[in-house]
């Protein structure tokens, strides 16, 4: 990597200084969202099952 940096014209100082160009540390919560339904929540399936049970009564 050092050789490559030199080839590309980066001084050691410049290559190391990149580590200081990090964005600010200011954590924010980003919770994963619900995108799929549990099988019991599947309204279409529930409706179809109910419909079938009613029809077969």
């Amino acid at each position: 990597m050092t050789e490559l940096n030199e080839t590309l014209g980066l001084t050691q100082h410049e290559a190391q200084a990149l580590d200081t160009w990090q964005p600010p540390q200011a954590p924010l919560s980003m919770p994963p969202q619900a995108l799929t339904r549990e099988p019991s929540e599947n309204s279409l399936l529930t409706w179809a099952r109910g419909f079938w049970l009613r029809a077969s009564d």
Partner: protein, 592 residues
């Protein structure tokens, strides 16, 4: 809870739906008339259903153009007088050409400085290849020396690359999100003027319920016939289509992943994407994350809007058919994956419909193929004409000639594709927009050639899309390889390697029709010829085009930010080296 659509939005949607259904029923009715002549059978039912679905899809596209024909008033908000919101411009990159990417950032920075907007810039790198990463670092050092804007410049390298672009942006939100109120999200090939960014910030400040504002990026820097035709079409027609989309979608607008601004807290609270259960292509990371993020913001009650009237938003497009098809392969997988999300809890009905539209955009291609196959089968299996159905008949009864119905069907279908473009041309003259495209006649000529070119390319694109759908449905994961930007001219040999199979399918179709239903040969011409000549057409359309045809406003009068980008590129870029042959491959899916 999603915001309810306005009355105007509901009305536009209803009219479009009625238009699409009317077109579908008309097409189905015509085909039923033809099918009923020799006795109605299963194939007629199949053909009728297929033509109704595909025509509804075409008519829906046409309705977008019709809805966008009349001009809209530009939304103007007074510049905010309060404290400026803390804004960051995010540039997620992964194995991109760092010189051109960072030259764009330098040009944007210069434009931001001129506009007086104070915006931090964060380059979020997922590049893991050591050689590419070192080049990126070197380019960053050069960029750091070039920036003049008021904001800070950050460069973060992520080690694990989890979740690809959405994961990259999400990582920034989780680690640094609280430092900002707004984030402008760009792609590596995005270019935006400082004035455009300032306008977007003002819009977000003026409307605290606005969670995301998407601009319409104009394509720039196209050189080949294919790229310049797309560039013209996007600028000339795209504006009207997007205006129609804007009216149709209302507050449940789109996110195209870049050249947009988001409210950071809203985005963080609403858009954390989980991996889907199961394996790729339908499980795992959500590939086309932008549509999902737009739906999630709308689900949380935020406004998501697109505004085609914000000037100064640009991106680059593919230079040839193969680059386009490779990108389409990724988008196909991403859109088909949305089938898993159609029943996601709490989404606005329109968001589900947007997912469905994305799926239809790709499924339509194999449906057209199936329709053609069903038509061939129906012709082959049709009973022989009986000229004397009665026992003692003096004069023969000739079979019903359905040429009129079939011709009406084909012309009707073609008009759904072409008529909106003619109407857009009239709109461009009426509003004076055509001047920037070289005037009424030059823009008319450009439009005619663009229609001819897209008609020739359509069967080739349909073939690539059909293959992509089949690959995804059969479980092949194409991954999400980085764009090979800057690909240029293709030789016939290179095109043949990627499209030889299309030639094979074309020749097979000719042979099949010749053997089974030679009377259908003339009907096969518009599809069979382009497929058989695919390599020649692909190579030919990748040739540079320097003619004034397809002239766009940006070519006529390059905006300052584009001029700055070119100037910086000329300083930074050594003489362009020829592209290694292995970068011009094909559309074959890369394994993730």
């Amino acid at each position: 809870m999603p915001l309810p659509p306005s009355t105007a939005t509901r009305l536009t949607r209803s009219i479009a739906l009625v238009f699409a259904m009317t077109a579908a029923l008309s097409a189905g009715g015509l085909l039923l008339t033809v099918g009923a002549e020799d006795g109605f059978d299963t194939l007629d039912v199949v053909r009728t259903v297929l033509i109704m679905v595909t025509t509804a899809w075409l008519a829906w596209g046409a309705s977008l153009a019709l809805a966008g024909l009349w001009p809209s008033r530009a939304v103007s908000v007074p510049p905010s007088t309060g404290p400026a919101p803390r804004t960051v411009m995010l540039v997620p990159i992964c194995n991109e050409d760092p010189v051109s990417t960072f030259a764009r950032i330098a040009a944007i920075d210069r434009s931001l400085a001129a506009s007086g907007a104070s915006v931090d810039i964060a380059i979020l790198s997922d590049t893991r290849d050591p050689h590419a990463s070192a080049k990126e670092r070197a380019a960053f050092v050069r960029l750091r020396k070039a920036v003049t804007g008021q904001g800070e410049l950050f460069y973060r390298i992520r080690e694990n690359g989890a979740g690809r672009k959405a994961g990259n942006v999400g990582d920034f939100m989780r680690n640094s999100g609280r430092a900002y109120d707004l984030a402008v999200i760009l792609d590596a090939d995005s270019l935006m003027s400082g004035e455009a960014i300032r306008m977007m910030i003002d819009r977000m400040v003026a409307d605290p319920q606005l969670g995301l504002l998407q601009t319409l990026p104009r394509l720039v820097e196209g050189h080949s016939l294919f790229a310049r035709a797309m560039q013209f079409s996007a600028a000339f027609h795209g504006l009207v289509f997007t205006r129609g989309l804007m009216r149709m979608q209302g507050n449940t607008g789109p996110f195209w992943g870049h050249n947009a601004i988001v409210r950071v807290e809203a985005f963080a609270q609403s858009c954390g994407l989980p991996d889907l259960p199961g394996k790729a292509p339908f499980g795992g990371h959500i590939l086309s994350h932008d549509y999902v993020e737009a739906a999630l913001l709308a689900r949380a009650g935020w406004r998501v809007q697109v505004d085609s009237a914000i000037p100064g938003s640009y991106e680059e497009g593919p230079e040839n058919v193969l680059s386009y098809a490779r990108r389409d392969r990724r988008w196909c997988q991403g859109n088909l994956q949305h089938a898993r999300l159609l029943a996601a809890p709490g989404l606005a009905g329109w968001s589900r419909f947007v997912f469905l539209q994305g799926i239809m955009a790709y499924v339509a291609a194999p449906l057209w193929g199936l329709f053609l196959l069903a038509t061939l089968a129906s012709t082959v299996m049709a009973p022989l004409p009986d000229y004397f159905p009665e026992a003692y008949q003096l004069f023969p009864t000739f079979p019903y000639d359905s040429t009129l119905e079939i011709t009406t069907l084909i012309l009707g279908t073609a008009s759904l594709l072409v008529l909106p473009k003619f109407l857009i041309w009239i709109e461009a003259i009426a509003t004076g927009r055509a001047q920037a495209f070289g005037g009424s006649w030059r823009s008319f000529l450009s439009m005619l050639v663009e229609i001819a070119l897209t008609s020739v390319l359509a069967p080739i694109m349909l073939a690539f899309q059909t293959r992509a759908v089949v690959q995804v449905l059969s479980g092949q994961d194409g991954g999400w390889p980085a764009n090979a930007r800057g690909e240029g001219r293709l030789s016939v040999a290179q095109s043949l390697r990627a499209s030889g199979w299309i030639v094979g399918v074309g020749l097979g179709a000719w042979g099949l029709v010749y053997l089974l239903a030679p009377n259908l040969m003339p009907w096969l011409l518009p599809i069979g010829i382009p497929m058989t000549l695919a390599p020649v057409i692909i190579a030919w359309s990748s040739r540079p085009l320097t003619h004034k045809l397809f002239r766009t406003p940006e070519e006529r009068d390059a905006p300052q930010v584009l001029q700055d980008f070119r100037h910086i590129m000329a300083q930074w870029q050594p003489a362009a080296a020829p592209l290694p042959a292995d970068r011009i491959d094909p559309v074959a899916p890369a394994r993730a």
